[in-house]
């Protein structure tokens, strides 16, 4: 759809971020109109999708107006000025609540913006609101949200993935063209894959964690979700870069991801298929679409080989030791003393009792499980065998990547072993839930860059499948380059984006449009 056709409100919500930005900059449409169109869309569908925990209508329109004023004054606008965005409720916002999907922070208003939040605002991006997520980013389905799950726009009875499920659903439901998620074990890529959109986990440290409520400090990575590879790259550039407030942030220029997304050429590129991840572990349709994607890459001029990464299969175990360990410490601060929920303070109970009653009431089961698991793994006597060993395994996984990247330029695998499973299917089986992260976890452990792009629908259920492309740390642009090539070729094959094959959502008022 060309920018010039930007007319009706529903058309505006079908535009990409790049198209919106161009239209706003050219004066063809106002940022306020664009924002209003998206706010209307949210009203129309979010009762079913439940992507948002908080919609900041007034604030969003004010931000949009500011962009329009700048434009009218002839000032230079940034590449995403006036584009609406959905922000995962794990990033602090001074003018909106930040709940992290938890009861323990219900209604909490931080007194400061996250660096990513500030960078978005400075760039003229219009934050529509905060999206739903698994509590404190722990989960793969948003079923761990204390505020109810989000629903996959492809099939509302299914999960939209997690933990950035709200962000992914919002983009797939056309409630926003852009969203921010965070990826710790796969929480951007897996939701993107099961919702049929693009999700990128930058190199660890590529985007600032200042203001990102910590789950696992050495793994958490903020990143973009969008309907196109180019849109994701544009957001990646705006949100990334060194931050002196984050000691772990990368002190190097942001890789040229936008240029790479525009280039999308893989001829001569060496592509490695991870042996350990292309066996029988995946759903049939997922494996089939993945195999086709690999063949597609070959047809585009890439050289494909199999690469063994023998320690990748220990990734799940290492991750479910390291992440809970760090989170057991990171979540200790929720103790009812300075902010958040306080339960049981009847003037006779002690501080310890109030802490325990509050955390019991305020945390959900998955959070409690991981806190206890982490406490166990760090306990004296167990540290070496569990946390210590897991950190060694992590080094070995990184070494596997290093060795692989001597032979190939990128590694590929399916993003997640299955398509979107039904809501409720795995909620009582933590281990089954953890398996969703099998393929995404290694890149979190090693900290390198990885993107998920749609590569088709599984024939058995008609649900989206994602292709994961992994690049070396700091070579984020390479992931975008390959992603863009795949996207272009497949969209040509499909006659349009994959998302166009999803059924239209019923709008409030009963009409389907």
């Amino acid at each position: 759809m060309a920018a010039g056709d930007a007319g009706t409100a529903s058309d505006l919500t079908r535009l990409s971020a790049a198209e919106i930005a161009a239209a706003v900059a050219a004066g063809e449409v106002s940022a306020v109109e664009v924002t209003q169109a998206h706010l209307d869309r949210i009203v129309a569908v979010d009762q079913d999708v439940h992507a948002f925990l908080h919609v900041a209508g007034i604030g969003a329109l004010a931000a949009a107006e500011a962009v329009d004023r700048k434009r009218a004054a002839g000032e230079l606008l940034g590449p995403l000025a006036g584009v609406p965005l959905a922000l995962k409720d794990v990033m602090t916002t001074a003018d909106m609540p930040t709940t992290c999907g938890s009861k323990i922070l219900e209604g909490w208003r931080p007194p400061y913006d996250a660096t990513v939040t500030r960078r978005l605002r400075d760039a003229g991006v219009v934050i529509l609101g905060k999206t739903n997520m698994d509590e404190f980013a722990m989960g793969s389905s948003t079923e761990n949200s204390a505020y109810g799950p989000s629903h996959n726009p492809w099939d509302l009875a299914r999960i939209p993935g997690g933990s950035s499920g709200g962000s992914s659903a919002a983009v797939a439901a056309y409630e926003a063209p852009l969203a921010i998620g965070t990826d710790t074990g796969g929480s951007i890529r897996q939701p993107a894959a099961v919702c049929g959109i693009v999700g990128m986990k930058p190199t660890y440290g590529g985007s600032s964690r200042y203001g990102l409520v910590a789950f696992a400090s050495s793994l958490d990575t903020p990143g973009p979700l969008a309907r196109t590879v180019l849109d994701a790259a544009l957001l990646h550039e705006v949100m990334s870069g060194h931050d002196p407030c984050d000691s772990t942030s990368v002190d190097a220029p942001v890789p040229p991801v936008v240029a790479a997304a525009r280039q999308g050429d893989v001829s001569g590129l060496r592509v490695g298929v991870v042996t350990e991840f292309s066996g029988g572990g995946s759903q049939t349709g997922v494996q089939a679409r993945f195999t086709e994607a690999v063949e597609l890459l070959e047809s585009l001029g890439a050289k494909v080989v199999e690469v063994s990464c023998p320690h990748f299969t220990y990734g799940l175990s290492a991750y479910y030791l390291i992440a809970p360990s760090e989170c057991s410490s990171n979540l200790a601060r929720f103790d009812a003393m300075r902010y958040g929920l306080r339960v049981g303070d009847d003037s006779t109970r002690s501080a310890d009792e109030v802490m325990s009653l509050t955390r019991e009431a305020g945390f959900g089961p998955e959070v409690k499980r991981r806190i206890m698991l982490g406490t166990y793994a760090l306990s004296s006597g167990y540290y070496d065998a569990y946390y210590g060993k897991a950190q060694q395994v992590r080094t070995l996984i990184t070494q596997d990547f290093d060795a692989a990247f001597e032979q190939v330029d990128v590694l590929v695998s399916p993003t997640t072993p299955t398509t979107a499973f039904p809501i409720g299917e795995r909620v009582d089986d933590p281990m089954a839930m953890y398996l969703a992260d099998l393929f995404t976890i290694p890149s979190d452990l090693a900290g390198n860059a990885a993107i998920s792009v749609p590569c088709g629908l599984a024939p058995e259920d008609g649900l989206p499948v994602g292709l994961q492309i992994m690049a070396p740390a700091l070579a984020d642009d390479r992931a975008y380059r390959v992603g863009a090539a795949v996207e272009a070729a497949l969209e040509q094959r499909w006659g349009g984006p994959l998302l166009a094959q999803a059924r239209e959502l019923r709008e409030q008022g009963g009409e389907t449009r």
């Binding site: 931080p110 200042y210 050495s218 501080a351």
Partner: protein, 499 residues
Amino acid sequence: MTDLAQLVPYDEALSRYEPVIGLETHVELGTTTKMFCGCPTTFGLEPNSAVCPVCLGLPGSLPVANRAAIEYTIRIGLALNCSVATWCRFARKNYFYPDMPKDFQISQYDEPLCTDGWLDVVVEGRTVRVGIERVHLEEDTGKSLHMGGATGRIHGAEYSLVDYNRAGIPLVEVVTKPVAGTGALAPDVARTYVTELRDLLRSLGVSDVRMEEGSLRCDVNTSLAPHGAAEWGTRTETKNVNSLRSVERAVRFEIERQAAVLDAGQKVVQETRHFHEDNGSTTAGRSKEEAQDYRYFPEPDLVPVAPDRDWVEQIRASLPELPAARRTRLLAEWGLSDLEMTQLQNAGALDLIGATVAAGASAADARKWWMGELARHANATGTELADLPISATEVARVNALVKAGTINDKLARQVLDGVLAGEGDPDAVVAARGLAIVSDDAALTEAVDAAIAASPDIVAKIRDGKTAAVGALVGGVMKATRGRADANRARELILERLS
């Protein structure tokens, strides 16, 4: 809540047992800002007015290490003859407590910044080398006011009020190796070590080291073992030791208490004890259900600290003259005795003497004034010598006036009183109070004649040849002139008069 401890008299305890002591000292660094954020470290600000998301531990906040704090820590380590790590990390010490914003403290665990040094202390002429195990860096906690109880302490309080201004201030922890073989001198060694350490830190300019303000905190470990035992005894840790004197008293008390426990055939409980200022005793802290497991792991939000050797050498080159070296030098320069030097040091008077000498007085004279009259003033008003409202220059001036004969020692005391009372500088006080010695013959003659007239019997003695009696008449002249007569001249005049 005091368990009435049995005690064995000190000397008796030492006749049977050998003490081993250890000290853990926390030093609040005098950096401008906190350890991990840019909040000010100023003391005494309005509650919760020097906090930010980082030191308040708000969700999403992240620490960034203060370079100056690292440098100060290396300074301390070098001054204590430690090795400086080439690579080390911060670690999280995890435990729940309301004054801890994150419910973990960023500290160092098995990778301290400095290790393996020593500090020599001299006690009763004997040099004891106190080994330094480690010097590491961590962050301070908030401060609680305990409300509703009778004593303001935790026990019996109904609730607490927390101020996080102090949370995040850089704290250096200096841990000694166990110090054995000091016998009866153990309490003294402990006290002298803390004094030396305090002076060292002050000379490095890294902290104002005021124990009463909490910028220098001490925990003392004490254990006893029977003479000739192969192993050391179980040690206790005593906290709330807030002054140099308390350090000494705490060790002494623990020795006496532990001796009684061991005499009774019981085991000393390994525990944390609390020192009581009012009666010099220690009592057991509330026993915890289980021993604390801090679940240390490397701090993932910070990157390793790897001070390059050039930086370390730069810091080493910038170290000032350390107290021990300075003392040796001054000892030679000032010609005072060892004992006199030690007294000066214990009183924290070295700088004052030095400044007074620089202003023209001799070391002996400077010492006389500061350790005599001025020390009396300080004790009477409960202040430190350095805090008295009189400068070294003023003291040197008073001394100069005495040397010149303008005033005598007795008058000088009145001059000092005047300066301390804020009446002005020494010359102004002399003038205002009319304290100059009267050596003008005319005025003196009057007083001499009056004294002679008043004591005919003494005059008779003098005329008889008992010249020693002149002293009494001189006394009379001094009294008449309110101490301002030139005593020697008065004596001369008297003798002239009577001859």
